[in-house]
Symmetry: C2
């Protein structure tokens, strides 16, 4: 009663896990060859390979073959970056320029990361208006950031950050993408407006990626994305920034430290 495609998948998984016959980066035998070897038809082999793809063990490359996936560099992000960033927001520009929060999280230098930003004006939809506590349709500045390792092609995150336009308008530089990357990040930008943050609330979920996200983040197979919504609240209790970050689920590790008051 054992299903053929599961048996084949088990067998190949074994070979990959042991790592002797099939190492990361290796090409698997062609599907026709596997069909011949296992004495099953090609569609059945493909079904087995589909299982391994969903598990993130192999990667299908059209016209080239099926490959054992390379382990990808882990992306780490902590919530201690927020305090770190706050502390730096008042530092000199030279200090702020030397390194950013993502480098702080990942332990890399500014040269290892490539960073892009786009700015545009939009209007608050119902969801964003609710979070900001402003009327629907309020003008917002939408900023899209992509970050990737210099040595890899695909970015490891795409972030959409929203600010209320009228709040940041007093400093025209904050409406200009040419000023990115802003030394010290968003908290330093807000500091130019006299805004101090009190707390940051982050909400994490996981879901299947959309087609665009699959392409943009270089995902493969059944890998999910993690979504992180970061809401920044200033010392007056006002929501001043909302940021939606999409992260590849298979290579991201988020760490949150909660300090407890003493008895």
């Amino acid at each position: 009663m054992a299903k053929a495609y599961e048996k084949i998948a088990d067998d190949l998984r074994q070979l990959i896990r042991q790592g002797e016959e099939l190492k990361p980066g290796d090409r698997l035998p062609a599907e026709t060859v596997l069909a011949d070897r296992y004495r099953y038809s090609v569609p059945t082999i493909r079904q087995a390979l589909g299982v391994l793809q969903a598990e993130g063990l192999i990667e299908k490359r059209h016209g080239r073959g099926n490959f054992v996936r390379m382990p990808r560099r882990l992306v780490q992000r902590t919530n201690e970056r927020h305090q770190w960033e706050k502390d730096r927001a008042k530092a000199t520009e030279a200090e702020r320029r030397s390194t950013g929060a993502t480098e702080h999280d990942t332990g890399l230098g500014v040269d290892d990361l490539i960073f892009s930003a786009e700015y545009q004006e939009t209007h608050a939809d119902e969801g964003l208006a609710g979070v900001f506590g402003v009327p629907t349709g309020t003008p917002l500045v939408e900023r899209v950031y992509r970050t990737r390792y210099r040595v890899e092609d695909a970015p490891f995150n795409v972030a959409r950050s929203y600010l209320v336009r009228d709040v940041v308008a007093p400093n025209p530089d904050l409406l200009d993408a040419a000023c990115e990357p802003w030394p010290g990040g968003t908290q330093a930008q807000l500091h130019t407006l006299g805004i101090e943050l009190d707390r940051i609330v982050e909400t994490v979920s996981a879901r299947p990626p959309t087609v665009e996200e699959t392409e943009e983040l270089g995902l493969t197979g059944g890998v999910a994305v993690m979504t992180l919504r970061k809401v920044s609240i200033d010392v007056d209790g006002r929501v001043v920034e909302v940021s939606d970050v999409v992260l590849p689920g298979d290579r991201t590790e988020l760490t949150f430290t909660t300090r407890l008051a003493r008895w």
Copy 2:
């Protein structure tokens, strides 16, 4: 050149999203009927349905049909539960018994949740030994908790919690599953040993589920699981508990609030 299965998937997705022809819980037409309607073979229809399944839009039920998925109750968990739990650890037993941290997170009463616990003794593998800072093979108490809504079948989380046996041995009740659910939770248990927590470090990732997890959590299709490792550190800087929680990615929302020191 548009691929047939994508066109079919788009069309069905449309019907589901509009929610007029196909509402949550509805059965889709049989695959043979769809094949006839769209003038494609059954395998092609199945491929299209596979896309929708991976997106979590439909659910395949063997022998019954393909169904539009019912929206599931969201599971929420915050990091403020930790301070809340700490504050309660010293309360009277009656107070502690009245409600738990999960009820605090979800806003439900103790009667809405069903809870089970198993205890067993194991030995620290390399990973756990490293986190606890003890030698590999050190005896541990492993506790497996499952929590589910009374009105649903599948649990919404499975947690494996580890304690160093010799640390908790002074209170034999902590080695006995019959004492569960312990009023006030783990922090109240540790309080009986004179242990006070200083901070909790939580690490979140997402990955495809194993076969067992798919069954246990009632997952379907390409839904990922979120994994949360919670490490509890006491006021002496010692790791006193490690807890690995597996959560269904499609229905879980984790919230972390980071409070920032004032300038």
